[in-house]
Amino acid sequence: MENKGLNKVDLIFEKIDNQEVLTKGFKMSKDEIIQEILDSGLKGRGGAGFPTGMKWKFTAEEKSPEKYIVCNADEGEPGTFKDREILDRVSNKVHGGMAIAGKAIGAKKGIVYLRGEYRYLLPKLMIELDSFHKMIKKIGYDFEIEYRMGSGAYICGEESALFESIEGKRGEPRNKPPYPTVSGVYGKPTSINNVETLVTAMMIVQHGAKNFIKYGTKDSRGSKVFSVSGDTPTPGIFELELGMTVQQFVNEFGDGDTKAVQVGGASGFCVPRKKFAETIIGFEGVPTGGSMKLFNSSRSMYNVLHNYLEFFTEESCGQCTPCRVGCQQLLKGVEKVKKGEAKSTYLNELMKLADTMKIAAKCGLGQSVGNAFKSIVGNFKEEIIY
């Protein structure tokens, strides 16, 4: 696996002339835009990592007069706060990225789904949106963006749950197939993309795929914004080239006593010190939507695990058995083991349950609970038991 080392980059927050970039973008045909994104190897920046070019291609192929580009601004993964920063500083690029996506897939309408916890940003975003609409009209492109608010539900970050929420219902993930590119919001072909993905796509249209692939590795092209928190002297937002090892990351951001790094938030993987050097941060190693949490030796990994399981037990939509009940079983199970009310071998049964949840749950939330569970229990068993 390629190791690019830790390199800071400054592309996402670069100030640009929206009108200039969009005018260039609209001169390209939809196929040219899609090809550029495909060539760039851009993968979704929300955590799931689906190739953006493919997603736009599938949506473009659908024959429907009504299509949508949806911006997933429901950033709720614990430890992720980079989309908030992007929306705060360069929302013009978010809107611009949506317009480019709209051109590529054939959508005249865009919807931004903004989590309720970020409502304080709305006045600023509305001002920018207004000038965006004026500019778009001026350059003669038919495209309109609408904002919809979330109201405190982590699961609404899941694409089909997000659509349900926009449609006025409980945010319960749908059965798939059909996939969003075929049937998304209002049952219409939809491309749903993360905030950062849209900004990055606009960047690629501006600078070209060739420049984008100078950064990152073969499987993890480009750079990414990380949100760093926990036991670190420098918490905050950092844009880094993809393809570094966890060790390189810890060398930069650790406090000298880093025991573990949780990559990808509560639904991500816990990397223990002994695996820092061999683990790549990227789609070929441990992927992340940006959340990076450092834990030093003063932290109890039991507390960390417990906190995550409590989180999932509350935030699960509750519709499917493996997730709704599985989360409760994992939580209660580790509590019992810790208290000595269950044998430590019970953890093996819970590991099997985590495996079942991974393959039987209805959506990504239930399927990912096992990631944190297995990696923390697997690497820090003594802290869970004693």
């Binding site: 309720g116 916890e117 109201s151 926009i166 219902k169 949100s227 760093v228 905050g236």
Partner: protein
């Protein structure tokens, strides 16, 4: 308790009478009053021609669309891991003592409600809280006392 009056009619005139209008309407009511009364939910059900149970079922899914009485200022303290590591318990203790209520309760004068919430996206400046829509970060017991005092004087 508040009287919903013409509010629902005005909101459905603005946002529409479709099922997709439900979220914006409920959110607007909560923006104004911080929670949903039964009367408000029944009115919304009538305007949108859906059952009151469906309105309730949808509202109760979303943590911020409260169907229990809330005060004028809803304080949400983040309890996810980083805020937890960085002193959320001290913040909770300070608030409980200042307001003389426990987490989950509302002050008798209906001014403040105190609840815990999950990650609000300020992990690098933990511990953090939201008071209604506004985030307050890098809190200490001293700092949060000042903030609440300000609110009390409003």
């Amino acid at each position: 308790m508040y009287q919903v009056g013409n509010l629902v009619k005005e909101l459905s005139d603005k946002h529409g009478h479709e099922r997709e209008s439900l979220m914006p309407i409920l959110q607007a009511i909560v923006q104004k009053h911080n929670y949903l009364t039964d009367e408000a939910m029944v009115e919304v059900a009538r305007e949108l021609d859906i059952s009151a149970a469906e309105v309730y079922g949808t509202a109760s899914f979303y943590t911020f669309l409260d169907t229990q009485v809330k005060g004028k200022y809803v304080i949400r303290v983040c309890k996810t891991i980083t805020c937890s590591m960085k002193g959320k318990s001290d913040i909770i203790q300070t608030l409980e003592e200042m307001l003389n209520i426990k987490v989950g309760e509302t002050t008798p004068d209906k001014q403040f409600s105190l609840i815990e919430t999950n990650c609000i996206g300020w992990c690098h400046k933990a511990p953090a809280i939201l008071i209604n829509d506004l985030p307050f970060t890098e809190l200490t017991p001293v700092k949060v006392t000042e903030i609440i005092k300000d609110y009390m004087q409003k």
